[in-house]
Subunit: 350 residues, 2 copies
């Protein structure tokens, strides 16, 4: 009897790199189908625009969505290549949603560059988003193989979730910080499951669909992706307050300055610690916070347990993702790679 | 031998009314699947919002797209009911495109009411448009029967055309009136084929697809719809200059005041009549025209033959639609109804 040899699998950056290399040519081919103006805006968003000397290192994003689609297909027993159209579709939808969300949220920079609406104008950015949306649907609808129609259904259901989540997020803005109309942490969680969770769930689910996996496997993969998305959002919320400006490219405490209703703040306000009351007073004026006020607010969020609650939320959902993945039989190699990605995504916040 | 009895078929308003009655319940059911906020904006756009006393008569639109989908299915030998999902999808896409186009074009009123972005805000209108887009795809993707996947492919190809046409239209704005960079009438025609033609072509084509018609029939139906769309756009352009403000709900000469590059103006500028030069000077300042200048411009467009050329364009495309419809075998009753709709749509302009 021999004990299994302990081999070290590929690292998270290696896994992401392998997936990016598989998806990139198909993604570029899809983008070339767009009107040249829209292709230019898409390339700019993907960080491919090298006309002005190339993007700063690291600005291309990690490619978590595309990796998840490919690894999910492998986990369901198919070659990664089967899921490339799905990976292309989710990347296109991701950029579509960034383009439109940046307008809705008034965000002027992303990854240290002007957002598309800021660089090209609101109308062109709306239309480029629409073009990417249409291209994503078309990519799946025209996919060769027997699973294209099921893939389109999966994507269409995701898009419905996505816009519902974003609608709630927009509506949160006009709700009060305290009192009966206040946004509860569980409402925020619902929003995050739909807005951020939907697309990662779609990525993993599409991998399963395109691999021809049984519906229980597709559901488990999609569920894991959704959990990962919520964990991802929680980490993003932590970075929006305590992230290093050098890394995030945003000013320190930026979400607090802009009075964004994120999980750490909502969890803090919902606590019964005294700091919650002081935080409510500070936020209650409705005016954007200046730097000292934002620093004070960050301290109060932490004192009221908001930071801790958000980290716990992230870990709870990572655990949920692991549980979903273990609920169905999956190919061990790909499963290990998905599991290796999970902590990598949360490490950003620590 | 008896000569065929001359019976008078239903009138255009009767045909449109019958189709609206068939589609309305399914459309309302689809809209109810939206987030309540988006359902409200959709109802507002469809002219269903009766909360504030009901819309003014005639504000619901004619429902040409939905009628075309249903009649095309009947012409291809299937019951109209088979095409109801297609009619719902094109109506949803139509409203999606109105919501986004009104933002891009800065239009503040439509059918005498505030446009959605003006009434609800830009961000909410962008998102409601996205929600309608997603719902249209979902409606077809989840359609029962064997033709759902082909219908989604048809819609996806249409959407690609639609955004390309709108992109060109946006780019026209920043191009000069004269000289080598000027927009040529044939470029405008290409834009109209894509922007306006695509959706009417899609409506008719979807009717054929959902009826299970052979591809030659689908192509002929789609082609007829596309011609009708271009004719429709030409009529719209005439109304944008010479339409009765009482009927259009827009100020007289409104497209000229806003320096919109429409077919009558481009055709006038491309002519070699002396009025073309005077028109170029008047428009060339780049400033919006006041009422007397717009009246002068309208006179020059007419003098240079722009009005005449646009009417001819409309009639040429109506003829093209008739020709396409007659190129394949179609059920005579439904064909007659489609043919009866054609002049009705152009009469608006006379």
């Amino acid at each position: 009897m021999t004990s299994p040899s302990v081999t070290r699998g590929p690292t998270a950056p290696q896994i992401l790199g392998r997936c990016r290399d598989l998806v990139r040519p198909a993604l570029a081919r899809a983008v070339r189908q767009l009107h040249p103006w829209h292709a230019e805006m898409a390339a700019y968003s993907f960080g491919w625009d090298t006309a002005d000397g190339g993007p700063p290192p690291g600005s291309q994003g990690k490619g978590v969505r595309q990796a998840l689609a490919l690894l999910a297909a492998e986990a369901a027993g198919a070659p990664a290549e089967e899921a490339v159209v799905g990976a292309v579709a989710v990347e296109l939808i991701h950029v579509f949603s960034l383009l439109h969300d940046d307008i809705m949220d008034g965000d002027e920079t992303r990854r240290r560059r002007a957002t598309v609406w800021k660089a090209y104008g609101t109308g062109p950015a709306i239309l480029a988003g629409d073009a990417l949306f249409a291209l994503a649907v078309r990519t799946l609808a025209e996919a060769p193989g027997p699973h294209g129609a099921a893939a389109v259904r999966h994507l269409a259901a995701t898009l419905a979730d996505l816009v519902r989540g974003q609608a709630e997020d927009l509506l949160f803005e006009s709700r009060p910080w305290t009192g009966p109309g206040a946004v509860r942490p569980r409402e925020y969680r619902w929003m995050a499951e739909h807005k951020t969770g939907a697309l990662l769930g779609c990525a993993a689910g599409l991998g399963g669909v395109l691999a021809g996996a049984p519906s229980a496997t597709v559901d488990a993969l999609a569920d894991a992706g959704r959990h990962l998305g919520v964990a991802f959002q929680a980490v993003d919320d932590l970075l929006g307050i305590w992230g290093d400006p050098e890394v995030t490219g945003k000013p320190v405490h930026s979400d607090l300055r802009r009075l964004k209703k994120t999980y750490p703040v909502l969890a803090a306000l919902a606590s019964d610690r005294p700091a919650a009351g002081r935080l409510a007073v500070l936020l209650g004026t409705g005016d954007p916070l200046d730097a000292p006020a934002a620093r004070r607010a960050a301290g109060l969020v932490e004192e009221a347990g908001g930071r801790e609650a958000t980290l716990a939320e992230a870990h709870r959902h990572l655990e949920g993702a692991r549980r979903s993945l273990k609920s169905v039989p999956l190919a061990p190699g790909a499963l290990d790679e998905i599991l290796a990605l999970l902590p990598f995504l949360v490490e950003r916040a620590v």
